[in-house]
Symmetry: C2
Subunit: 184 residues, 2 copies
């Protein structure tokens, strides 16, 4: 089984040359610096096969592979609430392909919601330069329908209708906590 | 600057041949499987320098280094509460050396507490086979005193007096949520 591709940090989408991940990392740094919330992206999990321990210098990993995360990418705490989300971008204009999600991420969000966590996706339509918070419960509906022969993507119009638009800013670049406030 | 040593998973402490980290991972799997809580260890952060992309097979990381985490190792959600903690073991019997913690971990726990997160350390005295939950607020007291010329370790007797003893079990191996219940 092949692991995920090299982290999207290394490809440049977006007008300002920042990926959604970079924009979120910058937003999270802004939020933490200003005492608003503590949210971090988890490191990409790596399966390490071979390590060298040279004398008088740092250990060097000589063989390792990207492995699939068992959770979503981001979590943290905001005013006593546990936040858990994943961030996805698509170049499609008309819909968001569900293949961007994996079963384990859906399972993880369901488990967090059972513990009263706040779970959602941040979806960016790159060509449109539009970003939305989309509730995990809505995502589950499409996910489950897909398994029963339903459509393989979420229409843009559905995300506009039921998601929460995040007006893109400068500081923070993605002020997603304003959208989270509407979930609380 | 040298990164952290190879994850402690690879050294075997403890009677049953499991490290504290392995015991906690098993406990977290137990908790999640039984719908009690969702807590995960974050992957060790790795700084990747060189990656090969062979045709028809997975990307291979050829050069990478362990880097220092900017947060604690564990976080998650339990009955609507955000949990954040680090796990540390010592072979010392009389005290727990503060050098096991890093300033960024302390800063991270302070930031999470400001957001009403539940923060603590799980400390294992390996030779004694005793495990304690120790509140972050108590840890901060010793940490700050150390910076003002205070002692470089927390006495075992202090941890017995103010920590919460976690009776080691089989399933889960470290039933730390029973101790967390006393913080809520
Ligand atoms: Mg992602
Ligand atoms: Mg640790």
């Amino acid at each position: 089984k092949t692991g995920p591709r090299f982290p999207s940090t290394y490809t440049n989408y977006g007008k300002r040359g920042m990926t959604l991940e970079e924009e979120l990392n910058e937003s999270n740094t802004y939020y933490e610096t200003n005492g608003v919330a503590v949210v971090h992206k988890k490191p990409t999990p790596i399966r390490i096969v071979k390590v060298d321990y040279p004398k008088r210098s740092a250990a060097v990993i000589k063989e390792a592979y990207f492995s699939t995360a068992s959770t979503t990418d981001y979590n943290g705490v905001y005013q006593g609430h546990y936040l858990d989300f994943d961030a996805k971008e698509t170049r499609n204009k008309g819909s968001f392909p569900l293949k961007n999600f994996h079963q384990h991420q859906i399972d993880h969000m369901r488990a967090c919601m059972a513990q009263s966590g706040i779970c959602f996706a941040i979806i960016k339509f790159v060509e449109r330069q539009e970003v939305f918070l989309y509730r995990a419960t809505d995502l589950f509906t499409f996910w489950d329908e897909q398994a029963n022969g339903g459509r393989k993507s979420i229409p843009y119009s559905e995300i506009v209708a039921h998601g929460i638009r995040i007006p893109v800013g400068l500081q923070p670049p993605i002020p997603y906590l304003k959208a989270v406030d509407q979930l609380l």
